[in-house]
Each structure stands twice: as C-alpha cells, then as structure tokens.
C-alpha cells in the first residue's frame, strides 16, 4: 500500500494490516523522530498528525491510513522555496525556552502542541494545560513546555498577521 508521510509517498507492505504506524515509521521508513514510550496510547511520545489531527502512532493501525496525510516531527519544519528550513513556531519556542531535557517525549509534545494551536490559536493557560495534560515528560519539563506553547501561539499569530 501507499503511505504518505511528510508529503512523500512510500510503498509499504499491506500485511499485516494491523501493525502500528509507529513501527512502520521507525523500523521500515527510518523516521526515528517519532518515539516509543508505552505502546498503549498513554504517554504521547509517538504523537504524529494524521490529516492535521494529533494521533498516537503506537495505536494507529496501518489499515486506517490509505489516502491519509501523515506528518511527523521530521516534517514539522517548513522547507522554504529558497532551500531554507524554517522551524515551526513550536520548535522555535521550545528552543528559545530551552525546554527539552532528555527530549524523548519532545517530538510528541511538539506535534501535539502544533496540532492544538491549529485549532486553538489563542489559548488560555488552562487550555494549554488541558491540551497537554496527556503528554508525559519524565524529566519534568512541564513548566517550560507550558511557557513555550504559549509563546508559540503568539509567534504563530504574529506570523499570520505579517503574511
């Protein structure tokens, strides 16, 4: 079957159909930025976008993904026409705020935050907490994540205003 990841089409085996997107991305396509943490959709380390919505790749079966657009952390930054790579506002503020420690959960945190800001461009602090509550960070970077998501929202809105 055909799998579209970060705008690129990949041919992957149809069988077994129930295998999780996470391992197809990591072990078959070599997209290692999406991380395994629990395998049961609890920790959020494997969060990707499917048609723009945040989804847990560890519990997403391959069979559900024909004709869907998948985006992973490797495709979060924007490749500009002049060849430059522009960090997504979430990546930029996670860098500015020096958010990650070990960073194993951070692809998932950023993918979740990026999808959240698409639907909630001007979130309150409570909105952010509500949205990010189910993405675990064992290093305990929650305060910085909260701050960086709030700043990413500002940065994103500023970017839209200037467009």
């Amino acid at each position: 079957m055909q799998l579209t990841v970060n705008g690129e089409r990949h041919t992957v085996s149809d069988e077994p159909q129930e295998r999780a997107l996470l391992w197809v991305l990591r072990d078959e396509l070599g997209l290692i930025g999406t991380k395994y943490g629990c395998g049961i959709g609890i920790c959020g380390s494997c969060t990707v976008h499917i048609d723009g919505e945040a989804a847990r790749a560890c519990i997403t079966p391959l069979s559900s993904l024909e004709e869907r657009q998948i985006r992973t952390i490797e495709g979060l930054a924007e490749q500009r026409e002049n060849g430059e790579l522009a960090l997504h506002p979430v990546q930029q503020t996670f860098l500015d705020e020096q958010v990650p420690q070990c960073s194993w959960c951070m692809s998932g945190q950023m993918m979740h935050a990026a999808a959240f800001l698409e639907s909630t461009p001007d979130p309150s602090e409570d909105d952010i907490i509500e949205a990010m509550q189910n993405n675990y960070c064992r290093c305990g970077c929650y305060l910085r994540i909260k701050r960086a998501v709030a700043k990413a929202a500002q940065l994103r809105r500023a970017g839209e205003d200037s467009d």
Binding site: P100, S103, N135, G140
Partner: protein, 737 residues
C-alpha cells in the same frame, strides 16, 4: 595502554607514532597525528574519573578523580574546528553543554568553534564511573581545565616558535592567538596546527596555572544546550533509534513471576515462524532474532518453555522484611552518645515508610549489537559504557578489547541505565544470527523486569529539652541500591549500602547527640540505583521528623531548623538556602485561605538545598501550588541548566510524593504499563521558583540533590494545613491508618 584513533586510517599513510611524557604529577600527555591527509589533529590526555568504592559519609562529596590513563580530549583541525571528546553521556542533564563551557573557558576558544563528540570505550577518555551520582561536573572540573589549559599553553608555545617570539608575548582569546601588548599578531588555532608539526610541540611538565574564577566568561553563563537542535528536529539518535544495514530485531522470553525460572526450554515451532532467523533456547537464556520486532515477539509464543514460578510473594511480606530492627544495622553517624541521652526520657518517636518506585524513563532500555569474528560493536542507551563492555565480553567469552561500546543519547536514565540487560541480550542473539541485532524492551518488560527504587522503613527518635533537640536517632532499613552492582564480598565488608543511606544522617550539627544506622534488607524483588539513591526517602523521614519536633515545642519550623544548624561553613550554607527559600516563598506572610507552607532541606554531594511547598486540599487530594527552591551547588557552571535540573528533580520527586508506588501481588510487580502507573502531568505541576546561591570555587552535584526535600516539604505543609502527619509515601490524606 591502548590508544585508538577515531576513524579509519589509510594503510599507505600510517599514523605517526605517539609520544607519551609523564610529568611529576603523573600527568600524561599524548601527541600524535590523527586521521589522514589534511585531517591533522592533536590529542591530549588527562587522568580519568573512576568510582572509588569507599565507605564515605554522605556529606563528603563525590568520589575523587583517581588513576591516570592517557586519552583523547581535544582534536583541533587546520580548518580551526575544535572537537571536545566527552565520555559522559547526555541524558537530558545538559552535561555536554556544561563540560563544553568548562573546556572552552580554559582553552580560550570561541564558543561557536567548539563541537562536542560522545566517546565510547574505544576512543576518548576512559570513564569507569559512568554518568551517575551527580558527579560529572564535580569530578571533571579540574582535570578538564588542566587539559584545556595545557592545550592552550602548547598552542601558544607552537605559535611563539612559528613567529620567533617569546611565549609570554602572546595571549589566547576567543580562539585567536594575539600579541599580549596589542602587537599585530593574529593566528587561529587551525593556522597553528596547519603550520607547525604537532610532534614538535612542547608539553608543559606541570599543569599550567588555571584561570581565576573572576576571569570566567563562559562558565557561569546560561549557554544554550548543544544537543537541542538535533533533538527538536527529530534527528538525534538514541539507543532505540540505532540502525544498521541487515539488522534483525530481538525478543527475549522472561518469567512471569519474581522468582520464576525455566525448568526446560526448547525451540518448539519458533524457528519455523515467519521472519525468524535465529532461536536460542537454553535454561539461562531464551531469545529470538527475526526480521521485525513483531515477528520476534510473536515467535516467543511458539517456544516450548516450562517455568517454575517460585514463591508467590505479596506486598505485606515485602514490607515485613523492610522493617528496621531496633539496635540492628551498621552505624553511619555517631556524634556524642545518643543512646544514653535518649534513655533520659522526654522523647518523641515516629516511623516512616516509602514504597518501591519505577524509573519510568520514557525510552525503554535498548541496544544494537553487531558481533563479528574480529570485533563486537555495540551502540547502547547506557550510563555506563565500560560496564556494558565488560558484560558483553563475559557473556560472549570474548576479550574486553574486542568489544567497542558507544553510548547514544539517552531518553532518560535516572540510574536505571547503569545496567543495560538489553545489550547482553542483543549480543547473544547477534552472535547466534551472525547479523546485527537490536533489542529494545517494551514498556511492559521495562516495568516488570527492571530494578526498582527500594522500599524503605525508618525509625526516628529524639529527645527535647525546652525548645532544643538534645539527641536524634535514625534507624533506617532499605533494599539494595549500590549493592546490586558490587560483588557479594564488597557488600559483606561494607555491611550497609552507601547508596541506600544517602541523606540518612543528621546535618543539624547543633544537636550534640546524633546516631544513624542503616540496615540492609535482602528482598526477592530487584532494587537498585534511582535518582538520588536513598536521598528522597531518607530526607522525607528525617525532615518530616524535624518538623514534628518543631511543632511539638510550638516552634516555627524554619526558625527551629536554623537554631539547630552548626556554626561552620555547612551550617552557614544551610542557613542561606533555608532563609532564601523561605523569603521567596513568603514564609510568615499571609496566604490564600486553605493554603499552607511546609519547609525541608537536605545536603547531597556537598550541594545544599531547601524547598518550601505551598499546598491546599482539593476534593481531599493534595494540590501543590508553588515550590520555592534555593540551591547552593558551589560554583554554578550554567545557571539555566542548574535551574532545569532543579525543576526536573522537583517534578520527579513530586510524582513520587503524590502518586507513585509499586506493589507486589501474587509474586508479580503489579504495574505493567503507564496506565497502571500514572506519572505527574502538567495539571498537577506547581509553579517552581529556583534561586541559585553560589559558594566557593568548586562545583558540586546538581542532578540529584533537589529531589531530596520535596516529599518532606509537601508533607510538612499538609500537616500545617490539616494537623495530620503523613508518614507514608505516596502521601494520602485521611487514608493512613
């Protein structure tokens, strides 16, 4: 001594022979040419850091730097690139950045000119201690500066020869060698390397004098982390991410119960299952290597295995074993005569208990191993590459020199990745399959088959006279921590586990009679290293009890603590952090209705920490609103990094304080995955305010000390709010019987 050069050599151009010189201090310096063609470099060695297994009191700081082995710290290329080779692994603590700051400061190079490379067992400085015990900065601060300063002197000496001027007429600044009096001289490091023969460079016979702290430009700055860009793009490689062409995936059969063992093992139908390449079925190891992870896992069900479950332990039996027996154990602190003083009456007694806990690092343990006839290469998510090398060599019956272990980035370590069983499993399977094998544990394997933070029990006694404590006693019992990594003979000689009793002694030097003892509890469940070792459990007991004593005599818990500190430097530093945390937290000022404050402090690896927690009860549950923390880690290398470590330790400690507990049921660990073992999330995370107080010229530990006081600070705040003294973790108001 083995010298290994990174990268491959062109056999037509063998590298020039190294020269070694030994100075009066046994300070070893190696010079040589690395690589081929233009990739001329210069390499240089200093003493390494190794764990000294010693019976040290927990306030004596990290083990010292011992032994000498020449090894590579720096490469400088003609292109003016400086590479710093670091044996310490980056697991989120920012160590690559802190060590780079120290090295760049003393070398005099430009921050942007420096890159950091993770070394393994085959290249770079040897590191027998691993990355643990909040020891990396403390143990490398001086050796790394001496190495860098020597390199600077040599560069400057070579430049002086090149220019025909005296060395004293040159200065090194921002990666450029300049005239000391503003002469028109400007040479980059790369130009010196390109235009001189490094074999002719003069190594200083003694370590040169080091920069005074007052001249530091990089140390003390919040430099951004050197590893974040790759991590934020998703391209940073961890042990779970390592790949090689032709690799297979391994899965290993494990017992369902704590004492489970194999009675018989046969391959059954597993070899005929789809994708299966190799099966090992022995009573001591059963594993499958297959083309995919899922195939390897599925084939485990087709093996013919007969298990003997062993005794089916229950939680109450574990707790009964984990009980401090009065008068037993090894004495770890003895000041005055606490027993006699306590015998005089007017005392207070209390018992505390803490449960087992998971590390729950979000990257389960993982390794990729490629066993070849001449060489075994392993890429491992490990805190201790040399331990992994030893374990793989033993398992395969190979010489350690045949095994090269390269640590990756770690997705959390917290002490769990000091032992990486997955590496040995991957090595066995790779040997059998003749192809590289990756073993990445599932979350269930990591929960059920790792080692845990040990359970502890504490008996505390004190005698009061008026408003003063005259005697304190702490009898502590714990499952093993450091002993899991030591041979039995060491455990027998030491008697008590120095890891288990970190934080168990009393730092209130104003109390004349103090006694602490530690009892080893042998348990049927594996316990071991966990962030801070015994620090959080012991501090919870000791600092809650001090709070009990303060309330017993109607004293303010802050003033009561200050009144019992010693008058020496340590007492002074404790006073500073206690007052700073209290002041920032608004101690004594009015609070919102239904809120209360609690305070606690500790010392660990010479760092002192005080924390104030502000809590309320919401629907019967503890809600922590604010944590104010003051830390004195000696000299601060990277303030933002030190704050991040404090924030992280507080959140991890708070997760233990409020939520975490592992129990044993029917011979098994009760939690299989994170749905059965919730961690603290963003909603339960308090605001955190960190104040860094510097003292002295030496950096101490930063990764663990701030995990010490949090549980006691919260429990003390709950007492202040409700009058209920909570003596068990996780804290559970109105539920303790």
């Amino acid at each position: 001594m083995k010298t290994v050069t990174k990268g491959s050599h062109n056999t037509d151009n063998p590298p020039k022979k190294r020269r070694w010189r030994v100075s009066r201090r046994g300070f070893l310096i190696g010079l040589g040419i690395t690589g081929v063609g233009a990739a001329v470099g210069l390499r240089f060695g200093v003493p390494e850091a190794r764990l000294r297994v010693a019976r040290v009191l927990d306030d004596s700081g990290p083990p010292g730097t011992i032994d000498a082995a020449p090894s590579v710290w720096f490469d400088i290329t003609p292109e003016n690139q400086v590479t710093l080779h670091l044996p310490k692994v980056e697991m989120g603590q920012g160590i690559h950045t802190s060590l780079a700051q120290i090295a760049a400061e003393e070398l005099g190079c430009d921050w942007e000119q420096l890159q950091v490379v993770q070394t393994g067992t085959a290249s770079g400085p040897e590191d027998g201690m691993g990355t643990s015990a909040s020891n990396s900065v403390a143990s490398l601060f001086t050796p790394l500066r001496e190495a860098a300063a020597s390199m600077r002197v040599m560069l400057s000496g070579a430049a002086a020869s090149l220019l025909g001027v005296s060395t004293s007429s040159l200065v090194v600044e921002d990666g450029v060698i300049k005239g000391a009096e503003g002469e028109d001289i400007r040479l980059t490091f790369g130009e010196v390397v390109a235009q001189t023969d490094p074999d002719s460079w003069e190594a200083p016979s003694d370590p040169p004098s080091l920069k005074p702290i007052s001249d530091f430009k990089l140390v003390g700055q919040s430099k951004p982390r050197v590893d974040l860009q790759a991590k934020l793009m998703g391209s940073a490689e961890y042990g779970y991410d390592k790949r090689l062409a032709g690799m297979l995936y391994g899965a290993v059969a494990r017992p369902e119960t704590l004492e489970g063992s194999l009675v018989s093992a046969g391959p059954g139908e597993a070899p005929n299952e789809p994708g299966v390449v190799s099966v090992i079925a022995r009573n001591d190891f059963v594993g499958v290597a297959a083309e995919s992870r899922a195939q390897a896992q599925a084939a485990l069900d087709k093996l013919e295995l007969r298990w003997e479950p062993g005794k089916l332990w229950e939680q109450d039996e574990i707790e009964a074993l984990t009980t401090a027996q009065d008068g037993a154990g090894v004495v770890i602190q003895r000041e005055g005569n606490a027993a006699r003083e306590l015998g005089r009456g007017s005392g207070l007694e209390a018992e505390y208990r803490t449960p087992m806990a998971m590390h729950a690092h979000l990257e389960p343990q993982a390794a990729l191993v490629d066993v070849k006839p001449d060489k075994v290469r392993a890429w491992v998510s490990t805190q201790a590459a040399m331990t992994v090398r030893r374990d793989i060599a033993r398992a395969l019956g190979r010489d350690e020199d045949d095994v090269e272990v390269t640590p990756s980035y770690l997705g959390g370590g917290f002490g769990r990745k000091l032992d990486v069983e997955a590496a040995v499993e991957a090595a066995r399977l790779s040997q059998a399959a003749g192809r590289p094998v990756h073993v990445g544990w599932t979350r269930e394997e990591d929960f059920k088959h790792g080692y845990l933070r040990p359970p502890t029990h504490h008996r505390l006694r004190a005698r009061l006279e008026g408003e003063r404590i005259t005697a304190l006693e702490h009898q502590q019992a714990s499952g093993d921590v450091a002993f899991i990594s030591l041979p039995d003979i060491a455990a027998t000689i030491l008697g008590a586990d120095f890891g288990a009793w970190r934080g168990a002694t009393f730092h209130y030097d104003g109390v004349p009679h103090r006694r602490a003892s530690a009892q080893r509890v042998k348990l049927p469940v594996r316990t071991g290293w966990w962030r801070g070792l015994g620090l959080m459990a012991n501090t919870f007991a000791v600092e809650s009890f001090i709070d009990e004593l303060a309330h017993q005599v109607n004293q303010d818990p802050l003033k009561f603590r200050l009144a019992h500190l010693g008058s020496d430097e340590r007492g002074h530093r404790f006073g500073n952090v206690l007052r700073a945390a209290a002041e920032r937290a608004g101690w004594g000022a009015s609070l919102p209705d239904g809120h209360a404050l609690g305070i606690a402090c500790c010392t660990d690896v010479k760092t002192v920490v005080a924390q104030v927690a502000e809590v309320s009860l919401e629907g019967g549950e503890i809600r922590v609103h604010n944590v104010t923390c003051a830390v004195d880690p000696g000299l601060v290398i990277n303030p933002d990094g030190a704050k991040a470590q404090s924030e992280g330790a507080i959140i991890m400690g708070l997760s233990s304080t409020l939520l975490e507990s592992v129990r044993i049921q029917e011979g098994k660990i009760d939690a299989a995955n994170l749905n059965q073992y919730p961690l603290l999330g963003m909603r339960q995370s308090p605001n955190i305010d960190i104040t860094l107080l510097e003292s002295g010229a030496d950096p101490y530990g930063m990764g663990e000390p701030p995990i010490g006081p949090i549980a006691a600070a919260v429990a003390n705040a709950v007492f202040s709010l409700t009058g209920e003294r909570l003596r068990h973790l996780p804290l559970s108001p109105n539920k303790e019987g």
